[in-house]
Subunit: 185 residues, 2 copies
C-alpha cells in the first residue's frame, strides 16, 4: 500500500468499540490478506498484501511459509477476528485437495493463536461490498477503495478479495448486532 | 500399544545407522501415527496410536489439535523423517477439501520442525509390506506385526496404516541405497 498516512503501525486497534479484522483469501501460490479497523461506521485500511510461494519450491515448504506468514501477520497486527474465503464448490477433486492443504495450514496457525475464524462465500462477499453477488473484480476493487477511502490503485489486485472479506465480516458483525453472523469455522 | 518392553522412552534412535520414521495416516477425525526405528534389517516399534478429534468441535479446533498433536509427537520422539499417506484420488471434491485441510495442518506443523516428508500411495504401501497392492486391512496388520515382531493385537486398528507407511519408507530408503526414493513432499 506504500507509505500513505492511512497505514497504521503494528499496533492493535485503540478504541474498544473498534475491531480489527484480518481478511484472508488463501491459496497455495498467492494468499491475499487485508487488515481493517472499523466500528461499523468508519472503515480504516491498516495493511494489505500477498504471501507468495514459488512453484519451484516443494509443497511442504509452501505450506510452512503460508502458516508462518499468517502467524506473523496475526502476531504483528493483533487482529480480533479473521474472515476467510470459503463455501465454494469444486468440480476438480485435485484442485480441492491442494486448496484444502493451503487452508488447513492457515486455519491451524491462526487457531493456535486463539483467533476466531468466520467463513464467507465469494457471492456473499460481493453482495456485502457491491450490493449484488455477481459483481466483477474491478467493481469490487472500486467499492473496497470507496469504503476504505483510499485510491483504488492502492487496492492491490491480489488483496482485493481479502479486504472485501474483512469488510463483509464487519458489515455482518455490526448489522442488527451480528444476528446474521455465521458460526465460526 | 500398552506397556510392553518394546516401547522406547521419548528418546531419539541411539545408533547412527538406525533411523526413526514417523508414519502419519492423516484425516480430520482420526489421524493414525506409528513410529519405528530401523537400520533396514531390524525393525523396532517405538509407539503407535491415534489423534482423535470430535465432530462436536468446530473444524478450526480439530485442525489446531491435529497440528499440535503431530508437533508434540515430533518434538517428543525426534523422528528423522516422516512418511505420509498420499497419492490417492477422490471423486468427491468436498471430501478432498476436508482431507486436504487436515493434511495441510499436519504438513505445515511438521515442516516447521524441518522434518522431510515423503508421500506414499496406499497401493505402494501394501506392495511394500505385503508384497501386493490389493492386500486387505487384516493382512496388512498381520504383516506389520510380523515385521515389527509384536503381537498383532498390539497393532491398533487405526494405526496399522501409519506403521505400514513407516515400514514402506524404510524399505524404500534402504533398498538399493534409496535409489527408488521419491522426491520429498
Amino acid at each position: 500500500m506504500g507509505q500513505a498516512d492511512y497505514i497504521a503501525p503494528m499496533t492493535t486497534a485503540k478504541n474498544s468499540t473498534v475491531i480489527r479484522i484480518l481478511g484472508v483469501d488463501s491459496a497455495l501460490r498467492c494468499t491475499g490478506f487485508g487488515l481493517i479497523d472499523t466500528d461499523g461506521q468508519q472503515y480504516r485500511a491498516v495493511d494489505c498484501g500477498v504471501i507468495r510461494t514459488s512453484p519451484k519450491e516443494p509443497m511442504s515448504e509452501c505450506l510452512r511459509r503460508l502458516a508462518g506468514g499468517v502467524r506473523e501477520l496475526a502476531e504483528g497486527y493483533a487482529p480480533d477476528v479473521v474472515a476467510l474465503e470459503g463455501g465454494f464448490f469444486f468440480k476438480n477433486a485435485k484442485t480441492a485437495m491442494v486448496l484444502g492443504m493451503a487452508r488447513g495450514a492457515v486455519v491451524a496457525a491462526l487457531t493456535e493463536l486463539r483467533l476466531p475464524i468466520y467463513e464467507y462465500a465469494p457471492r456473499r462477499v460481493k453482495q456485502a461490498v457491491c450490493g449484488y453477488g455477481n459483481a466483477g473484480k474491478e467493481q469490487v476493487a472500486l467499492l473496497v477503495a470507496q469504503i476504505l477511502k483510499i485510491p483504488v490503485a492502492d487496492v492491490k489486485d491480489d488483496a482485493t478479495d481479502a479486504l472485501a472479506l474483512a469488510i463483509c465480516h464487519a458489515q455482518t458483525r455490526f448489522t442488527v448486532q451480528g444476528l446474521r453472523l455465521p458460526d465460526p469455522l
